[in-house]
């Protein structure tokens, strides 16, 4: 295990704070995602995802999470959502679509939740509230 010091935000439910320790772990994952800002790189990634990913010194877990488009897993492995946005933009998907997949909701149900005022703060501020 890591030497990570417990942080006050560890007890926020359903949330990974992208701090310096996460950024250290996710550096190459995020830089890979950033590379997709350039059209030629997007084409190469789409043509052979695994071959493109293998050019980056990322962990096997990180590469598999990208291929599975498992955004929660990518963030647990140091990804930041603004960088990961380059991946779902490459897939032609909106931020709202990607956010919905992270919550396990359908895009329609997520959109309706937002139209009805969003996810309530009540019961969602401390992990212990959800137990």
């Amino acid at each position: 295990m890591s030497n990570r010091i417990p942080q006050p935000y560890d007890d926020i439910p359903g949330t990974i704070i992208f701090d310096a320790d996460m950024a250290r772990q996710g550096y190459h994952l995020n830089q890979f995602a950033m590379s997709l800002m350039k059209a030629p790189n997007r084409e190469r990634f789409k043509a052979d995802e695994r071959a493109y990913l293998d050019q980056w010194p990322m962990s096997e877990d990180q590469k598999q999470a990208v291929q599975a488009r498992d955004y929660n897993r990518m963030m647990a492995l140091g990804g930041n959502v603004y960088f990961l946005a380059k991946i779902f933009s490459t897939d032609g998907l909106s931020f709202q679509h990607a956010a919905a997949t992270m919550t396990g909701m359908t895009q329609e149900a997520y959109r309706d939740m937002m139209l009805n005022g969003g996810r309530s703060a009540e019961g969602n501020l401390y992990k212990k509230e959800g137990e």
Binding site: N30, Y82, F95, M102
Partner: protein
């Protein structure tokens, strides 16, 4: 001499920019939001700033994970709208004020704020969406704009207190610049939103409205709120709100609220907007 006369705060959601660019502002989803910005469009034509000092954050556009400046001051002649992966927004190039920016750099660094100076930088929706909300769709932006990018992507961002104090130093810097300029400071980002994880979609109207209240008349105490309160109660991306405190710090202790607006949702986010003018202390 240059002087700071007013402040504007607004969210900078990318979907708002897309709605403007694609002509969707009259659609039922967007209409209530854009109605909230009609006042500021009129107000800006009357107040005619020469320069806007625009506080915003880059969203993995100009800055990747290689260099992460906490405070980056745009000192160039111009800044192009960035290609964020689907082509640049069809908005004018931003014209800076390099002389004033250099003066601000000199003054703030000597005032103990260790700025990063940026000369080549494309500006993303964080900067261009507020410009579109306030100025509409002109051929050229009607004033000069100094971009000021604050890191709020890598935690921890600067504290609310640091931002508020920077605003106060910014005011000193502007007021010691010899050109006669009407300067506004805009703070952007927020309000409550979380774009990630199972808690995505969090909206906290109570927190947001308390923040809007206190930014006006309790700012010194609001500045002391710790980061944990923002990320817990306003969402992991709601911490962007610290940027509004730079704007507030640059104004008088007493301000007049010319406009206050709050709306949910814009995509994943709660939208807040304030227009503040200095009152005599």
């Amino acid at each position: 001499m240059a002087r700071i006369t007013a402040g504007v705060a607004t969210s900078h959601v990318p979907a708002i920019g897309a709605a403007i660019d694609l002509g969707k502002t009259g659609e039922p989803y967007w209409k209530p939001l854009f109605e909230g910005y009609e006042y500021v469009k009129e107000w800006i034509r009357e107040t005619k700033p020469d320069v806007v000092f625009l506080v915003y954050n880059d969203h993995a556009t100009a800055f990747d994970m290689n260099f992460i400046p906490t405070f980056a001051l745009g000192c160039a002649e111009s800044f192009k709208p960035a290609d964020e992966g689907w082509g640049p927004r069809p908005v004018p190039t931003v014209k800076g004020h390099p002389e004033l920016a250099a003066h601000i750099a000199q003054s703030l660094i000597q005032d103990d704020f260790d700025l990063t100076i940026i000369n080549e930088m494309d500006v993303d929706h964080g900067l261009t969406v507020p410009l579109s909300l306030v100025f509409g769709q002109p051929q050229e932006w009607p004033c000069l704009i100094i971009p000021f990018a604050v890191n709020v992507v890598l935690y921890p961002p600067p504290s609310g207190q640091r931002c508020y104090d920077l605003g106060k130093s910014l005011r000193k810097a502007v007021e010691s610049f010899p050109e006669d300029l009407n300067v506004q400071v805009w703070g952007t980002g927020g309000m409550s939103h979380q774009l990630q994880g199972p808690r995505a979609g969090l909206i906290n109207k109570e927190f947001d409205n308390e923040f809007l209240d206190r930014l006006v008349d309790d700012a010194p105490a609001l500045a002391q709120e710790p980061h944990i309160r923002y990320v817990r109660e306003a969402g992991s991306e709601g911490v962007e709100l610290v940027m509004w405190l730079i704007m507030r710090g640059a104004l008088n202790d007493r301000v007049e609220v010319k406009k206050r607006f709050y709306h949910v949702p814009a995509s994943n986010t709660a939208v807040g907007h304030l227009v503040l003018e200095n009152r005599d202390s």
